[in-house]
Every structure is written in C-alpha cells, then in structure tokens.
C-alpha cells in the first residue's frame, strides 16, 4: 500500500463525502431558491417522454443494485441462502438491463439537450460539467461490469470493493482492498467520488428532495401568513417580537 493508494482510497473518499454533506447543507441553507430540477419539458417533450423515464427509472434500479452490492455484506446474502452464482446472475442480468436503459436514456437526453435549440440555450456551463461527470461515471460503471462479466470471467467485487466501501463508513478505511481491483472499477469509483463532490453544486440536488412525502400528506395545505417555518427564517436582528 503506497502513498497513492492512501490518497485515492482513504483521503479522496473522505474529502468527497465531506464536500457532499457540507455542500448540501450549505446549498440548502443559502440557495433554496436554486434548488430545483430546472425542467426543460416546456421546450420539448417528445424526446423527453422517452429519454427521461428510461434514464431515471434505470438509474434508480442501478442505485438499488449498488446498495445491494456495496452495503449488504456477502455473508448476509449467503446466510439467507443466496449462492454466489445466483446472486451473480441476478446482479449481472438486472444490472445490465438497468445500465443499458440508463445509458440509452442518457444518450437520448444528451442528444436532445444538444440539438433542441431552446434546451441547449438553457444549458449552463455547470450543467455541461455535470453531464460530463455523470456520463463518465455511468459509462465506466457499465464498462467495468461488461468487461468483468461478459468479456472476462467475472469479478467478485463483494470481496474487495464492497468491504472497502463499508470500511470508509466504519472510519477504518482499508485502502489495500481497493488497490487490487481491476482498473475499470477503480476508475469508476474515482469518477464517482468526483461526481459526489460536485453533486451539491449542480442541479443533481433535486434527487435529495424526491417528493416521497407526497404519498402521505393531506391534499390541501394551509399555511398561516405568520408561519415562517419552511420558508426562510427572519434575518438576524429582524426577528419579530415574541419569538424568544
């Protein structure tokens, strides 16, 4: 384990995580008005209606797959009686389908963004950087899966990458586990770290406010004029009387 490994698999993840968490806190505190999907559906909906659900549902399945693969230890699934082969087949089949959907959706969306005039005009530099990072991470991830499982003989990341991932959260990072992983997996993880660090400063923040609360709240919302909760708090020095 050399200095490079420590930098990449110990320092970088913590930097990225810290920026991710504090960045979101900062953004939520100071830029609630900018916290939006910035939907471009008004400009064009024909391509969006195919591309957007493909991408979003695809990436949600990919996300679930990552949780299953990275967070849940191999010993747990084996304890339930899921053999390595069974897990591997399900993961590869589901993962590839979801990955292809995600990439297909992404290609349609990027094509749309570039070719539809109003959508392109509404694209900021920030968006372009975000698209590049997101696309790179997704493509590297798909490439790693395809190279390892379809071209190669399969790679059991649940004995190396997953324990490393969890070790970061135990605060006992084991860089050595990652050092031996195939190059594509390493690159995928690294680009993801960069993406997570950029995340709070892009429009990707909309993911963190996915409106799941809508399923349970009452339909009609009443709010008092006095009720500032949820809206911005009064400026320091301008709190009304009677609010200790």
């Amino acid at each position: 384990m050399n200095a490079l490994d420590v930098t990449l698999w110990v320092v970088a993840p913590y930097v990225s995580l810290t920026v991710f968490v504090l960045g979101h806190v900062w953004r939520y505190r100071y830029d609630k008005f900018g916290w939006t999907t910035r939907s471009s559906q008004m400009y064009e909906s024909r391509l969006l209606r195919i591309g957007s659900p493909l991408f979003h549902f695809g990436i949600l399945v990919v996300l679930l797959g990552h949780i299953g693969g990275l967070v849940i230890p191999k010993s747990w699934t084996e304890a339930v009686g899921v053999s390595e082969e069974a897990y591997h087949i399900v993961a590869v089949v589901l993962g590839t389908i979801a990955g292809v959907c995600t990439v297909a959706g992404m290609v349609i969306l990027i094509y749309r963004r570039r070719t539809v005039g109003p959508v392109f005009t509404a694209t900021t530099r920030n968006d372009k950087l975000m698209y590049a990072l997101l696309a790179l991470t997704i493509l590297l991830g798909l490439a790693a899966t395809v190279m390892a499982n379809i071209v190669g003989g399969g790679y059991d990341y649940r004995t190396t990458i997953s324990p490393w991932f969890r070790s970061v959260f135990y605060l006992q990072p084991e860089a050595s586990l990652m050092a031996g992983a195939p190059l594509l997996f390493k690159l995928h993880a690294l680009s993801a770290l960069v993406l997570f660090a950029a995340w709070p400063f892009t429009r990707l923040v909309h993911m963190l406010t996915a409106p799941v609360g809508y399923l349970t709240r009452p339909y009609i919302v009443y709010r008092s004029r006095e009720d500032v909760a949820g809206s911005r708090p009064p400026r320091r020095g301008w709190e009304p009387i009677g609010r200790p």
Binding site: F33, G34, T121
Partner: protein, 551 residues
C-alpha cells in the same frame, strides 16, 4: 362547531368589460416582466367564443385538470392520484408545452438604428425569446381577440363544442364577450393538491393560494392540476409561479393591480366567510349541476350571529368580520344573486365569480329594431336567444341554463326599472317583482353595478398591524445587492440565490441611488414607479419622466 375561514374573493361584471387588456398589461408590468415569465399572463382577457389561453385549456378530457368523482363517490384528481403523479414525474404527459401558450418574442429594434443607409426602410424583425432566433409570430395570449380568425379558430373552442350544432352555426352573428381571468384562489385548489413538494399552500388568513419559491422543486404537477391553467412554469428559474392576488397590496388594504387599473370599474373585491370543514363534502356532490348550490351552501352569512360567534372562535378579527358584512362579493352572490362561478364542474370551488353579460341579448334586440331596454322584450329575448344562455351556462353553471337565465332576467329587470326612473316615469314595481326583487334592492344593485363607487367596489380589510413588521420590505438587504453589483444573484447564476424582493421599487430605487453619480438626484426614481404601491390617486414621482431643466 364550524371552522370558519375568511377568503378574499373577486367578482367581475362582464357587461362592462370592453376588452382593453389594461388589467393584463398592468399586471404583467408589475409581476411577470422578467426573464422566464415572458409568456406568462397572471391576468389575461380572452374573447369568447375562442380557444382561450393556453389554447383549449377548458378541454379537461385533454388536459385532465381539476377534480373528478371516483367510482366510490370520493373526490380524486382527474390527472391521477399520488402514486400516478410520482410515476409520471420524470416526464409529465399532461404538461402544456410553450407552443400551447405561445412563443414569446421581441423585435430587433437595434436594426432600425444600425442598418446601413439604403433605399429601403430598415425593419425590426421579430426574434424568439426562447431560442433567440428570428421567428414568425403565429400565436399569442389573445391571438383570437375580438373573434379574429373565428371561422377557423372558434370551432376549436371546447365550450362551443359542448353546445348544440344549431347554436354553433349562429354564434358568430349573435354573440361575443370578453372573459378576463386570474387565478381563482379556489376553496378546494387542485394545484395545491397536485404539488408533490407541498410548496403550494392556501393562506389560512385570507385564502390566497401561493407558491413557496423556496420549497418548489419544479416537478410541474401544479400546471397539470389547475384546470384553469393559471399556474405557470418559469422556465428560467425552474419554479412555478402564479397570480398572488397582489397580496402585498391587499394586505395594506388596496385592491389588486388588475382591479385598480380596470377602466371599466368592473372588478369587485371583498371577503367571504366559509365553512372550511364542509368544502370537500360540497365539492363531492354527485350532480355537476348541483355544484353551484353546493358551493353557495359552504359560504356563510356574515350577518348571522351564530356565524359571527363561530368566526370569532376561529380567530377572525373584528374588522375582518365587519368587512365581511360590507363585502360586495357577498351582496352580488347572495343578496342580488347575479354572480356565478367559472366552471363549477371542475370541483375546485373557484372564488373569482362573474356577472354574466346581458349585452349580447340587448345588442341583438337593438340590431333587429326592437327596444332593447324594455322589460318584456328583454325577458322574451333571454328565453328565445338560446345561443347566449347555452354558451354562458357551459361556462358559469356546468351547463344548467336556469342560473344563467335567472341572472340575466335580473340584469334585464334592472335596466328596465332604472330606465323608468331616468326618464322621470313612475317606478314599475311589477318589473322588480317579476324577478323576485324589490325596487329598493334593484336600486341598490344598480348603485353597486353601474355607479360602482371605489369604496363600495373594494372592501379590503388590512392585514393585522401586529404582524406589520413582516409586511415591510425595509431596506434591510445587502447594500451591494444591485444589478451587476457584487451581491447580485446567487453563486449559480440567475436562478440561484435569494428571490427578487416583492417590492420591485426597492430594487430599482436602490440601484438608482447607488448607481447615480449625482448626489442631488440620489432619491429620484427617474421614470420608475411601482404600480404595486400606487393607490390610483395623483401622479407619484416618476410616473412621468422628469422634464429636462433648461440651462
């Protein structure tokens, strides 16, 4: 115990609307004069019959706005429930595109000055504000104004398609009126119910429906949810925006910009007290034609001691109760019975009501050589002319002609009764009796509708002084927050950072003050005036540009 709530409501007297669009223009100047809202008209005036704005918005089979009754007899959103909303959140299939509104444009004015000398006069070509490219203007918010292009365009009017063929053939000759529209500030708002983030809310003090710009995440479901299509998507900020009932103005007791600037004095603003617990029940009445009565039954009589007691219990202040008793809205809906809601069949319980126009009937009578002011002629014509009644009924009473007929008969009676007075004849009480009124009530109604004195048209209680500090946008912002200044905008460009302050004047005044190089003129507004604060009296500084002083 009833839960009494107060609601600011509006009534528009359509007989007096001349379609001048002053309300739309002043509203736009005050509220949607910004990038991202170029296509947005919180107030628009459409010619009926016509397609409206956005095009054919009333066709709920297409747009699925508002509520409907489920098989179990319970209310549900026509566009689908919660789960369906979340599943279609990535691409809302029922979202109008910019072309359903219109593509906003500006002109290449610079060409007029920069064009090289030539034989031909230079032309300022239209340029799209969406793409920035030269464009051809094909549609706008009032493209079919005054029935322009009606033979081609009006057949697509969703209301006209509901009335019979016979009526369709005749409509052009007989019938046209203007329909100014703002947000309905519904008692049962389907936009609020559609908002996944819970950013939209109804204010419990005055019932104004607003969007919390800090909570809106741009999921766009409110645009679909509103059957009147009065929630708009700001395509620059990615947030929903809508008519605010000019809350900064009404909170200090002055009417909305659209009402204040209406040259026909046709808008009325006042309070309505209603029973908040009975709204859902009333909106779920099975028969669409019973919705009008159901909505009326939710509204309470502000003179009833029991209602007053319950209102006090619910925390409504005394001056608001007094305003509710003087409310022109309550008078027009209940005492005179001449106001009707817009599309009650959407089940949203709209709170901007209309006095349907009698003028098409009068016009037909006069054009055919009859006396258009005589009670008998008018009553006969109202019943004989199926066109106006059928069409108006589709708009104001879910297709039931009776309420519209009753209103038009009352308006006709007022005309005939007042003419006798004007001509110095004897008052004919039988005219009043025929429509179930008394001469005295008719004269009162005439005063409210025809004279329309300012303080009778607008009875707006002020928001409470103890909350006053919050109403003011004192110059407490950062002194560097002027355009181009270091404090302007957030770190992610235009859409980020704090929202623009409501009092636009502060912003301009601040900029003016900070950018001017002449200390003497530091507090002048130089051609800028904030219509939000203008009460219509006098000419405030800056309404007209200053004359240049002669040296």
């Amino acid at each position: 115990m009833t839960r009494v709530m107060a609601q600011l409501a509006m009534v528009m007297n359509l007989d007096k609307c001349i379609g001048c669009h002053t309300c739309s223009v002043t509203c736009k100047q005050a509220w949607t004069n910004r990038a991202g809202t170029e296509y947005v008209w919180f107030n628009n005036v459409e010619t009926r019959p016509g397609q409206g704005y956005p095009r054919t918005y009333q066709d709920q089979e297409k747009w699925k706005g508002g509520w409907e009754l489920g098989k179990n007899g319970r209310l549900r959103l026509k566009a689908g429930g919660r789960l369906r909303k979340l599943l279609t959140i990535f691409a809302n299939p029922l979202m109008p595109s910019i072309n359903d509104y219109y593509e906003p444009w500006t002109y290449d004015y610079d060409r007029l000055f920069s064009a090289p000398v030539s034989e031909d006069t230079p032309v300022a070509r239209p340029r799209s504000l969406i793409t920035g490219e030269p464009t051809k203007i094909r549609w706008s918010a009032n493209w079919d104004d005054n029935l322009a292009g009606a033979p081609e365009l009006a057949p697509a009017d969703p209301v006209l398609r509901k009335v019979s063929d016979e009526v369709k053939l005749e409509f052009e000759r007989a019938f046209m009126f203007y329909l100014p529209r703002i947000c309905e500030h519904c008692l049962n708002p389907s936009c609020v119910a559609s908002c996944p983030s819970g950013a939209m809310y109804k204010r419990s003090e005055d019932g104004i429906v607003l969007v919390d710009q800090d909570r809106c995440r741009g999921w766009r479901m409110c645009v679909t949810g509103c059957p009147y299509k009065k929630v708009y998507f700001n395509h620059r900020t990615g947030k929903a925006e809508k008519c605010t009932f000019c809350y900064p103005r009404v909170e200090v007791g002055i009417p909305t910009v659209c009402a204040e600037t209406c040259v026909g004095r046709l808008r009325y603003i006042g309070l309505i007290l209603y029973d908040a617990d009975r709204v859902a029940e009333a909106a779920s009445v099975k028969d669409e034609k019973a919705l009008l009565e159901a909505q009326k039954s939710v509204m309470l009589d502000p003179h009833d001691p029991e209602v007053i007691a319950a209102a006090r219990e619910s925390g409504i202040p005394e001056d608001w109760l007094e305003a509710a008793r003087r409310s022109p809205i309550h008078k027009l809906i209940f005492e005179y019975g001449v106001a009707l809601p817009l599309h009650p069949e959407y089940r949203t319980m709209p709170m901007v009501w209309y006095v349907p126009p009698l003028s098409p009937v009068v016009d037909v009578l006069t054009n055919t050589g009859h006396d258009g002011e005589k009670a008998g002629n008018l009553f006969g014509a109202i019943d004989a002319l199926r066109i106006p009644i059928g069409y108006l009924a589709e708009i104001f009473s879910a297709g039931d002609p009776e309420p519209v007929r009753a209103v038009l008969r009352r308006l006709a009676a007022m005309r005939a009764y007042m003419r006798d007075i004007n001509l110095g004849r004897e008052r004919d009480e039988s005219i009043a009796a025929e429509v179930g009124m008394t001469g005295a009530t008719i004269e009162e109604m005439y005063r409210l509708l025809a004279i329309a004195a300012y303080d009778e048209r607008y009875v707006i209680p002020k928001a409470h002084a103890e909350q006053g500090a919050k109403l003011e946008e004192l110059a407490t912002g950062c002194s560097l927050d002027y355009e181009g200044g270091p404090g302007m905008g957030g770190p992610f460009g235009e859409a980020s950072g704090g929202p623009a302050p409501v009092a636009v004047e502060n912003f301009h005044a601040l900029k003016e003050r900070q950018a001017t190089d002449d200390l003497g003129r530091a507090d002048e507004l130089r051609g800028r005036v904030n219509l939000l604060n203008w009460d219509g009296k006098g000419t405030p500084d800056g309404l007209f540009p200053k004359r240049k002083e002669k040296p």
